[in-house]
Point group: C2
């Protein structure tokens, strides 16, 4: 059993033992670990959130603070801050989970028929079996029908749909299959700045190259084709930009892109030969009456067959956002257009390594895309609950925008969609100097101070990216109305005090 | 909007357009895609399974075959072939999903108290919120308690536990953080041959180096330290082998490693400075009375503090196997020992990119590790259902081994654990020649012929790896007893005919 047979003398054995002893350190260390993992940053769960957890533990231990509770506005996690689940969704999932309930008269018939339909499409009629890696077949069909309805009749093929473990999983999968090349020919991903940190983290993890294009803050965070072109041509100097990502509605920026803007982006991608990624997870979160969601797919088809039969487009949706906000279910889907058949087989093979997305997340996604119909029993309650969530979000979006813009030194673009405000904040020179002395970004300094003095937990803009010399933070609009008002009042008081302190 | 501003004359514009037209091809092609994804192989969902799907579609269309149905024995998916869920597990998950049921008198109180405890530990008391990336805190505690009970009192720290999206996700995560270096210093992963193809697929995807060690088929697929040493020293010639994976009970090989064997492996890892991965997802699937599952962790601690405080060990468990077999829930956990604090923070950061494992999978895992106690209401039914599943599997393991060994030219090691047989099959020269002419592996040729002539779907040994010149297939023992007997009879008749045909 011993390796000592390789050493011929006792002296050699003892020398080996000594060396081995000396060198006994960990195998997995900061030095030896995967450097691309070390390079990942994830602001949404970064230092302010860690600190918030620490403060909460202190409060629970009875340590006195200038505030009684941490108000978390760092992550789009609606149920965690009190949003109630949509009854119909939970009924369908409970019925699928425990089919004995199909005999229970307190469950509505439309929920039962949905559950039976899903179970019929599962191996052994059980959510405990694996599905195909692409997803349960009847759910793929329901997603396709949803897309057809959403896009006014434009065809959708279930074969182009892939259910995913939340949208994140789908996005990472598509990025992964698109990466290739080394050095200057390494794949570049064009992403908006500010961006959702999943993108930068996934690009780090894949050791790919990030190509930043800046959203136009002065123009409600629009995508500007001149800026896309600048970024692309600059990117071509150091990598091979092949992919253009757009987030619509925007995260963290909350804009809803106009139809014209989307058309320009598609035209640009077509001309420049870019694969398009449309992150549309907030497609149901549209607030002002004059805003409308236009899917990239719909605009692509409206631009004619030259575009719709050529442009490669992956678009993403999720059960974690919208009005159901079932983050914990990890449900989502992607639709991928104009993928070659052999590449598609490769994508499915890659997905099959992780076997399949969770069946209960798939079931949750099914309810999102296949809600009760007007003539069905649960329709009224479903619509009432849906409207309650969406109108409350619309109200809170308006409120947040208005109150933030009342604070001197804070400027906030209209919150047209998604669940976040990304206000620009004035940080005086003296505060910037102090941050520099502490070797932290000025907005990290600001957000940490806000947290420590008020208990409000938001994420610094530097975690999402921003134009040099500008500072922001991202906050969700998810807390209950009263709590959100408290939060905004605290931000206001803090900011005024902050400006006074550092002027 | 146009890039033509870069071109000064109409002729240049038209030339650009022509070039662009000519070169309009797909961006994502077999040539341009990620080469490491192209290199992935996944036998369990490979060509025989694809063909089986095609045959099933033909049968449904009424096309006549020599058989009426495909019998799938390719994947460890128990519910898909008729195994019933454990009632208590589904009750707990249904209660967590739809808490209105907490008032329903038909649900037992112990299921209700489990569900309430889980919900108390979730953000907003909802399974629809994200959990910490490591998992729901009370479930981490339950896993730690389970490990302590399993290992006879050896301590377990919830802080070393990570809930995962099935065990696959945990395994891929640990492999990912361990990869580094280039060329000859690229991380090498030592894996058993035959192996579960998740390992080779993940190693491909991570562009890491696979270092094969062969299990000893003549000795019931034992791990032999001499062979480990041979593989390690050989591996050191072309990479940096840092990690040693052991699957116990074995997949696809079905052996249960002896305590002595595990101790030798740990000693070897300790001496050679290897990070240990123990894939223990079949720890509840142990069949003959004289076999016992020994966890790597337990043996490690029994070897004394020099080992237990030094050897880095990650071990994996799953809600997809055992007696609950809830594959679709994608629940699992890993315990990681002797991880440095700073590396641990890196691991959590990496996991946080995908936010968290599905909450319903976490809840399913909780029931596996925290079953009803003897004094609780559901205990009897739970134990009855658990025993029914495990005794049926034990019976089918015995049956499969016996019937396979009655076939001339088939040799099968004892099925001590897991859910598979991996018999060695004699393939005559003439058949090997024919396979070579068709450019397929001899056992792929065999399995395809078996499928086409009998409807039995198994996976060729070449997908798992095997000693050169030997041939095997993997079949599950999951089909119901009658169907399994039919399957084995079909294999027998086919094999005898095959030998006659090619002799």
């Amino acid at each position: 059993m011993s390796r000592f047979s390789l050493y011929s003398t006792a002296a050699e054995v003892s020398e080996f033992r000594r060396c081995n002893e000396k060198s006994r350190g960990k195998i997995l260390t900061m030095q030896s670990m995967n450097p691309v993992v070390r390079a990942i940053e994830n602001a949404v769960l970064g230092p302010t959130v860690e600190k918030a957890g620490g403060i909460e533990r202190e409060l629970r231990r009875g340590i006195k603070k200038q505030f009684d509770e941490v108000i978390r506005a760092n992550i789009g996690d609606a149920h965690a801050v009190g949003q109630q689940p949509i009854t119909f969704l939970r009924q369908v999932v409970a019925l699928c989970t425990y089919p004995d309930l199909l005999d229970n008269p307190s469950f509505p018939n439309d929920a039962k028929s949905r559950a039976m339909r899903i179970l019929q499409s599962c191996g052994g009629k059980s959510l405990g079996s694996y599905s195909a890696s692409q997803g349960v077949s009847c759910i793929l069909e329901d997603v396709a029908q949803y897309i057809i309805r959403r896009d006014g009749g434009i065809p959708a093929d279930p074969d182009n749909i892939y259910l995913t473990t939340g949208a994140s999983d789908g996005i990472i999968s598509i990025l992964k299959i698109l990466v290739s090349g080394e050095g200057q020919s390494r794949t570049g991903f064009m992403i908006p700045i500010p961006q959702f940190p999943l993108y930068s983290a996934a690009i780090s993890e894949l050791d790919a190259t990030q190509v930043n294009y800046y959203l136009d803050e002065e123009n409600c965070w629009a995508v500007d084709v001149k800026e896309l072109r600048r970024a692309l041509y600059k990117g071509r100097e150091y990598c091979n930009p092949k992919v253009l990502c757009v987030i619509n509605p925007g995260n963290p920026t909350g804009q809803v892109h106009s139809r014209r803007c989307i058309e320009e982006v598609i035209h640009f991608a077509f001309e420049e030969g870019l694969f398009l990624l449309a992150d549309e997870v907030y497609q149901d979160n549209i607030y002002p009456g004059n805003c409308k969601f236009h899917s990239f797919k719909k605009v692509l088809y409206e631009m004619g067959p030259e575009y719709s039969s050529n442009v490669e487009l992956a678009s993403f949706h999720s059960a974690s956002k919208g009005f159901v906000s079932e983050c914990g279910y990890r449900g989502g889907y992607m639709e991928v257009l104009n993928l070659q058949a052999d590449v598609k087989a490769q994508l499915i093979k890659m997905l099959s390594v992780r076997l399949c997305p969770p069946l209960l997340g798939q079931a949750a996604m099914d309810v999102v895309v296949n809600p009760p119909k007007p003539e069905e029993e649960s329709h009224q309650q479903f619509m009432r609950e849906k409207e309650a969530v969406l109108s409350s979000l619309a109200l809170k979006a308006k409120l947040t925008e208005e109150l933030l813009n009342q604070v001197p030194g804070i400027q906030c673009n209209p919150l047209q969609g998604a669940m976040y405000a990304f206000p620009r904040i004035l940080i005086p020179d003296k505060a910037r100097q102090q941050a520099e002395d502490l070797q932290v970004a000025p907005d990290m300094f600001y957000c940490m101070k806000l947290l420590k003095e008020t208990g409000v937990c938001v994420v610094p803009g530097s975690g999402f990216g921003q134009k040099e010399g500008t500072y922001h933070f991202r906050m969700t609009i998810l807390p209950a109305e009263d709590k959100l008002k408290t939060l905004l009042q605290k931000v206001k008081d803090f900011h005024i005090k902050f400006l006074a302190e550092y002027s």
